[in-house]
């Protein structure tokens, strides 16, 4: 397969189509309106459905309807828009429907800014909306990975009959990189006839619903959900980068992991034994694997680099049970840390905790 140079946002749109999702509901918001712009042109070409909704609230409910009708469906938005979708996402989880959400995170809170950020980590990993629901939250780090994970998100959503969220940021959505759409095999859609609203011909009527009048039934349903969310641990994905001999490891995901990688490469030349543990699924969080590294006596310290006030930081602290000091470096509000300042931070942290060279 030959590579195409493509903007992240457009690649997300194309990836959905390649994955067999030819329906898309959205509301424009920077820095990802290009997904909508791209699909408004492309979907009619493939006989698909493009609707610009009146709001993110409505877009999420259109997704709810389409997911209930058993078609592959995606919406994309950015931080404030995702907040408006939280009720809808809770309903979709509560009705056990597959749907793909993409959040291109921007600086917050409130109107904030439109530049890259990772400040929606809590929202993506702890729910955002009401009730006991969770979803696979996946954080790619390049346009290529974004394509791959969007394509994988559909079968994953169907496997668990649950929303899946791909979490990016303005950098990943706005930059162009070469992409190869061929490297993920599209999967056929699961059979939906047993539960979707396709018309009750030759079968009993189906119902899409999240209401339970009987609290015992709702409780039972919640235990079922819990088991499902625990089963999602099978999907835990992470990358280990130069972890073999590291005396300090950095935890970073998405865009910051690229910066950390560059920094580590440079620091390795200076003799610093630093590795990177990059969560790819940020929910479920790769707690077990990370804990093992945290318990490794060779490792003297842990560092977290994030574009937020320290959200993943909490998961890391829990994961390593604070058995090693956890240092933290962040840029926020739309600023991507640059390799220089990252290196400086890493050097300091490394030396502070007695790393050898």
């Amino acid at each position: 397969m030959s590579k195409i140079l493509m903007k992240g946002a457009e690649a997300v749109g194309e990836a959905a189509i390649r994955a067999g999702c030819i329906s898309y509901f959205c509301y424009p918001i920077t820095p990802q309106s290009e997904v909508a712009e791209y699909l408004s042109k492309r979907l009619p070409e493939v006989g698909g459905t493009f609707v610009q909704a009146e709001s993110e609230v409505a877009a999420s409910q259109m997704v709810y309807g389409a997911a209930g009708a058993g078609v592959r469906i995606m919406t994309t938005s950015s931080s404030p828009g995702i907040s408006l979708m939280t009720e809808g996402i809770s309903y979709i989880a509560g009705a056990e429907l597959p749907a793909v959400f993409v959040n291109i995170v921007r600086g917050g809170p409130g109107l904030g800014g439109i530049l890259p950020s990772q400040a929606d980590y809590f929202q993506a990993t702890k729910g955002g909306g009401h009730g006991d629901y969770r979803f696979l939250a996946i954080a790619p780090a390049s346009v290529q990975e974004m394509v791959e994970w969007v394509m994988r998100a559909f079968p994953l959503a169907e496997k668990y009959r649950n929303p899946v969220m791909v979490v990016g940021d303005g950098l990943l959505a706005q930059m162009m990189e070469p992409v190869d759409f061929g490297c993920v095999e599209p999967t056929p859609q699961i059979d939906v006839e047993s539960w979707a609203t396709t018309g009750c011909k030759d079968r009993p009527a189906n119902l899409i619903n999240s209401l339970f009048l009987d609290p015992l039934k709702l409780e039972e349903f919640n235990w079922k959900l819990k088991a499902k969310y625990e089963a999602m641990e099978a999907e835990i994905a992470y990358e280990e980068y130069k972890m073999d001999d590291c005396e300090m490891f950095v935890v970073a995901y998405g865009t910051t992991s690229r910066v950390v990688r560059t920094a580590i490469n440079a620091l390795r030349e200076e003799g610093y034994k630093i590795g990177m543990f990059r969560p790819i699924t940020i929910f479920p969080f790769p707690q077990k694997a990370m804990r093992a590294y945290g318990e490794n006596p060779r490792v003297k310290s842990v560092a977290v680099v994030e574009m937020s006030n320290g959200q993943m930081l909490e998961d890391v602290k829990w994961a390593v049970l604070e058995k090693k000091p956890v240092e933290f470096f962040a840029r926020n509000g739309g600023i991507v840390p640059n390799p220089h300042e990252t290196m400086e931070f890493l050097r300091k942290s490394y030396e502070k905790h007695g790393g050898t060279k």
């Binding site: 877009a59 709810y64 309807g65 469906i73 018309g199």
Partner: protein, 247 residues
């Protein structure tokens, strides 16, 4: 012996949870009868709201989708756009449709979604215990307008049929009532016409039905019919507000 009136096929036998006399049950039956008559039971998806009729799905023997409060038109859009061969209708109360769901109903109508909306206007929030709705009558006492709706403070009731009929996109907009046999018969005709327009792929169709809520109005069902006639009818005139042919 030939049965000339009984439960429509598109309804289940389940006894509703509605209060005695509540015309939600009547409206359900009309919709089901129309679905039967047009032969749509196996290709229909009903979208239930949040409101007293949230359990609509228990009473209809068709595929059903329960929506978030006010968002049924968006949910219906999601279904109809991706499965255009289905007949999709929403069934919504006045709190649901005219308050929290105002943006969704206007935009679904304006986009010309080929769906049917059955709108039960009982001038109150039934399910949550009788709070004021956008459709509550001037002076009407509710649990959140204990001194009666004060139009100087909260404005006049919203007439949804009138509002939607001003949109330029072709549609079928009609208001009926459920308080007398005659009106119920007329209401059913309107519902049938509405579904017919959808089946023909013509346009968005909207049927508002004036309805009673004896429980929260605090009077008997029979008195409720009278109250509706006296108070609601003059403010909410019945009739066809818009047809797609007009355009």
């Amino acid at each position: 012996m030939k049965t000339i009136f009984s439960r429509p096929r598109a309804m289940t036998e389940t006894i509703t949870h509605y209060c005695p006399g509540c015309t939600h049950g009547t409206a359900h039956r009309l919709v089901a009868e129309v679905i039967d008559e047009l032969g749509l039971r196996e290709s229909t998806v009903g979208v239930a709201p949040v409101g007293c009729s949230v359990l609509l799905y228990n009473y209809m023997d068709t595929d059903m989708h329960q929506a978030a409060h006010g968002r049924a038109p968006a949910v219906a859009t999601g279904i109809k756009r991706t499965r255009p061969n289905l007949t999709v209708y929403t069934y919504q109360g006045d709190g649901d449709l005219a308050s929290i769901g105002m943006a969704e109903i206007i935009h679904a109508a304006n986009r010309g979604e080929k769906i049917t909306v059955v709108f039960i206007n009982n001038a109150i929030y039934g399910m949550t215990g009788g709070q004021m709705a956008p459709t509550t009558m001037p002076g009407q006492r509710t649990t959140t307008s204990p001194a009666g709706r004060d139009v100087d403070n909260v404005g006049y009731p919203i007439r949804v049929a009138e509002l939607l009929s001003t949109l330029r996109t072709p549609s079928y907009v009609v208001r009926g009532s459920l308080h007398t046999p005659h009106n119920i018969i007329e209401a059913k005709k309107a519902i049938r016409q509405a579904f017919q327009y959808q089946v023909d792929g013509t346009c968005f169709s909207f049927v508002e039905l004036l309805s009673i809520c004896p429980t929260n109005w605090g009077i008997t069902p029979v008195k409720s019919n009278e109250w509706l006639e006296k108070n609601m009818l003059p403010y909410y005139p019945l009739g066809v507000y818009k047809t797609p042919e007009e355009n």
